[in-house]
């Protein structure tokens, strides 16, 4: 299935819903979208992978790139991923220790909202 990307606002978070296959062919479109969101000012980004049917190492590379971009601007980056099929990929690559992984979008927003973005 083709890649689908759909972004919406939830409070001060930008949520990007990703669906279909994220692979060496489609990952550049995901990268472009994430770069665009950060360039447009998004600082707290949640990527919802719930409807992703396939994710490969190229997709993982793009997600790591987004994490770095948001860290550089003191933002936050969370992933929503509840499917065992995808969680296994994060475990094998040890990226479950690099990313914040959540079961739901609400949990991801609650976790990052409670932390770094409150004004001093």
């Amino acid at each position: 299935m083709e890649l689908s990307l759909s972004a919406y606002d939830s409070g001060d978070h930008k949520v990007l819903e990703v669906g279909g296959e994220v692979d060496v062919y489609t990952a550049p479109r995901l990268r472009e979208k994430l770069v665009e969101l950060v360039e447009q000012g998004a600082r707290h980004v949640v990527v919802d992978l719930s409807r992703v049917e396939f994710l490969d190492s190229t997709g993982l590379g793009v997600l790591v790139g987004a994490l770095k971009r948001l860290r550089a601007v003191n933002g936050s980056f969370g992933l929503v991923c509840a499917h065992e099929r995808l969680l296994k990929i994060f475990r094998i690559t040890a990226l479950d220790r690099v990313f914040q992984l959540y079961d739901t979008v609400d949990a991801a927003i609650a976790a990052s909202g409670a932390g770094t973005d409150s004004p001093a």
Binding site: D56, L60, V64, G65, T93
Partner: protein
């Protein structure tokens, strides 16, 4: 002898085709249904790796995929690039040995690497983590590497 062979120009769009063909052949060969997702991911990673190597070396040569069903379902993905990473793992040997990987120092945390380097390293990590019987070696003839993977068969193929 290979039962199915596939050669494709090193374009990312063709990797999906290779995955689809690979899973179809694996299913027909008798690989257990619960292993097919791993087969799909592993063939995709091996082909992505080959495409990335060809593109980084400016090679137009075709990537070759050969699938055979004998005692096990075996997939070989062959690239024509120099300096690919070597990996060796066998079902008897739990440890994965990364014999050489000139581009990627293994001590660098993934979040400090460039995206392409993350993808390359994670691709190898996924292959090593998914496939019990994995061997990445230099071609005996000519320049390039071969990723060889195999999976058990549930039943003998017809």
């Amino acid at each position: 002898m290979p039962t199915v062979r596939l050669s494709f120009s090193p374009a990312p769009a063709h990797v999906r085709t290779a995955r689809l063909v690979g899973v179809a052949v694996a299913r027909r060969a008798g690989v257990a249904e619960e292993l097919l997702e791993e087969v799909r991911l592993a063939i995709g990673e091996a082909c992505s790796r080959a495409v990335a190597l060809h593109r980084s070396h400016g090679l137009d040569a075709l990537v070759d995929v050969a699938m055979a069903d004998g005692d096990r379902f075996t997939v070989r993905v062959v690239d024509r690039a120099a300096n690919g990473a070597m990996v060796h793992r066998t079902p008897q040997d739990e440890a994965v040995v990364l014999l050489s990987d000139p581009a990627l120092p293994l001590t660098t945390p993934p979040d400090l690497l460039a995206e392409e380097a993350v993808a390359a390293r994670m691709g190898l990590a996924l292959l090593a983590g998914l496939v019990d019987d994995l061997n990445v070696s230099e071609l005996s003839e000519g320049v390039g590497t071969e990723v060889r993977m195999s999976w058990p068969l549930e039943r003998s193929s017809d």
